[in-house]
């Protein structure tokens, strides 16, 4: 097992290297550079000023040289400084925003897994019954409502009108940090993030469970006198979870992207918000740092999924 993990992590490191190279050169294809994001059409910044700023940031060097310089710094742990105005070190910005993102994503995903699996089971067991049809309709609603729309509707209804939840942010600004304050702010965005994912997991779980209920060992279980509910929960669900675990692993990895809208609308200081502002400002070092951290998280999520998969299904040997 440990050999497998070592190999996967080594592959992961190589992967991050390939990813950093790909993103570094892709970024240069996008129109605009950090300096062009400084300029405000209202301000009168001469072309010469812009040229000088580019030199001071080393943007006029040949691309491969810039990449090697960046890589050298990155390997020594210095991801460089954000090109945005107050030039904070990238590592600090990332470390302050990875926490909130993980918190939001893990809470959202956990809720999605719990509700998704339950809805999937109910949908499969009461197949084509009234409950199944309503759940199918709800999950279609979940799947087909865009993150930014659900966030806006959620924000407006629950904090604007009903004032149940605070309007964005991670804590009341200036107030001392309290866990209940955090939970109060976390509830709405996490539920909205979970809403879409739940529908996804529910659909796959239902289809997988229907597949498993056909298997012979389910009939054997019933022949053993195992009560109906236990047959579903103990025998069927565990087998049906196998493909769903892969799905959960992948969506856990991709949740960072999805959180962008939710983090923007709720002003949640996570990676999503950081990356959107970084991309708007073409802040290359911050984008590179962010990509590596998000990349590492997705790779970790994939490795964890494969290990969990092997752990749940004894037939699959690891590696």
């Amino acid at each position: 097992m440990t050999l497998y993990l070592v190999r996967r992590f080594a592959a992961g490191i190589l992967l991050l290297l390939a990813l950093s190279m790909l993103v570094f050169f892709l970024l240069r294809l996008a129109p605009g550079d950090p300096i062009s994001s400084y300029i405000d059409p209202m301000a009168s910044m001469t072309e010469a000023d812009m040229e000088r700023l580019r030199q001071s940031l080393g943007l006029d060097q040949p691309l491969p040289f810039q990449y090697v310089y960046w890589l050298g710094e990155a390997l020594s742990g210095d991801l460089g400084r954000s090109l945005q105005r107050n030039g904070q070190p990238v590592l600090d910005l990332l470390s302050t925003s990875i926490g909130p993102s993980m918190l939001l994503m893990l809470t959202g995903s956990t809720l999605a897994i719990i509700f998704g699996v339950i809805i999937g089971i109910v949908g499969a067991v009461r197949r084509d019954g009234p409950v199944d049809l309503t759940l199918a309709a709800l999950s279609s609603l979940g799947v087909s409502s865009p993150a930014f729309l659900t966030s806006l509707v959620g924000l407006y209804v629950f904090s604007g009108v009903l004032q149940w939840a605070p309007a964005g942010g991670m804590q009341d600004p200036g107030m001392p940090f309290t866990v209940s304050g955090l939970l109060k702010h976390l509830a709405l965005p996490a539920l909205i993030l979970a809403f879409g994912q739940t529908a996804l997991i529910a659909r796959y779980m239902r289809s997988s469970l229907l597949e498993v209920l056909h298997q012979d060992y389910i009939r054997t279980a019933r022949a053993k006198g195992v009560p109906g509910r236990m047959v579903i929960l103990k025998h069927a669900v565990r087998n049906a979870l196998l493909p769903v675990v892969t799905l959960i692993g992948s969506t856990l990895g991709l949740a960072v992207g999805g959180a962008i809208f939710i983090e923007s609308v709720f002003n949640w200081p996570g990676m999503g918000l950081l990356m959107v502002t970084a991309v708007e400002a073409r802040d290359y070092p911050l984008i590179m740092g962010g990509t590596l951290m998000v990349g590492a998280w997705v790779i970790l999520a994939n490795i964890m999924t494969d290990v969990a998969y092997a752990f749940i299904d004894p037939r699959i040997k690891v590696g």
């Binding site: 592959a11 992961g12 992967l15 990813l19 790909l22 993103v23 892709l26 294809l29 996008a30 129109p31 084509d128 199918a136 309709a137 279609s140 609603l141 799947v143 087909s144 409502s145 865009p146 993150a147 930014f148 729309l149 806006l152 509707v153 407006y156 604007g160 996804l200 659909r203 796959y204 289809s207 997988s208 597949e211 056909h214 196998l242 493909p243 675990v245 892969t246 799905l247 692993g249 992948s250 990895g253 991709l254 960072v256 992207g257 962008i260 809208f261 990356m275 991309v279 962010g290 990509t291 998000v294 990349g295 997705v298 790779i299 994939n302 999924t305 998969y309 299904d313 037939r315 699959i316």
Partner: protein
Amino acid sequence: MTVARFLPDMKSPTGRALRRFVGNPSAMLGLALMVAFLLVMFIYPAVSAIGPNSIDLLAINKPPSLAHWLGTDGVGRDVFARLLEGGRVSLLVALTSSVASLVIGFAVGAVAGLGGRFADAGAMRAVDVAMTLPPVILLLVLASITGPGIGPTILVISLLSWPVLSRLVRSRLLELGQRDFVVASRGMGAGLGSLIRRHALPNTIDILVVFVTLQVANAILLEAGLSFLGLGVPPPDASWGNMLFAARSTTVLTNYPWQWMFPGLALVVVVLAINFIGDGLRDAFDPRSEGG
């Protein structure tokens, strides 16, 4: 079911599958909804005088009325006409990109699942790279190279959606690979191609069907997201994506709900219909459901 009786008692498996599909009430409901939608989408514009882009500044933000069945938008354009034109655009984008990502995802997944350890490792690392690439950057770069418009939108959406499917197909085929009939056909010298065609495809049909049904909705939402970056289907053309996107201003969200609710509703109905059709197809092609 009277309909089933008219169909010839076809003996071939597809024939029986077709008869099972027709016999499945929810699948037929889904099919009926889709056909109705497509019919209205293609016939109404030819009939009606009101074009999707004809503005009328004296009738902006009007609620649904006899003149405009679903009301008008911020520039006085008829929401119903835009809904239909947008529907054509969005469904075109969604279906093509779903099929494209289906093909790529299934191919990579199948190669990984059945192609032996090295193919598996190689394919999965490619998937890892694809999944770790932050969508924001890919969207921005690809779309800015290709510019807005329907073609690039389809390309971008397909590139973003296939990795998840490949992992699902791989996990199903890893399990399948252990089963006797696969080992047996390998023993009979079946190459990877025929293995995929004869064993991988039928045994992952349920995953593929569920993926397509979800991917249609996901594609339309991604297209809406693209509008966030000023890409996707460029205004003034209509698409469900950019119509939904109009709701980002609180006023439109609260005071003119018909401008975004109907595209949202249409999307939910289409997704529901495609889900029912998908379920019907999966049950029809699943031999074990003979008793069903």
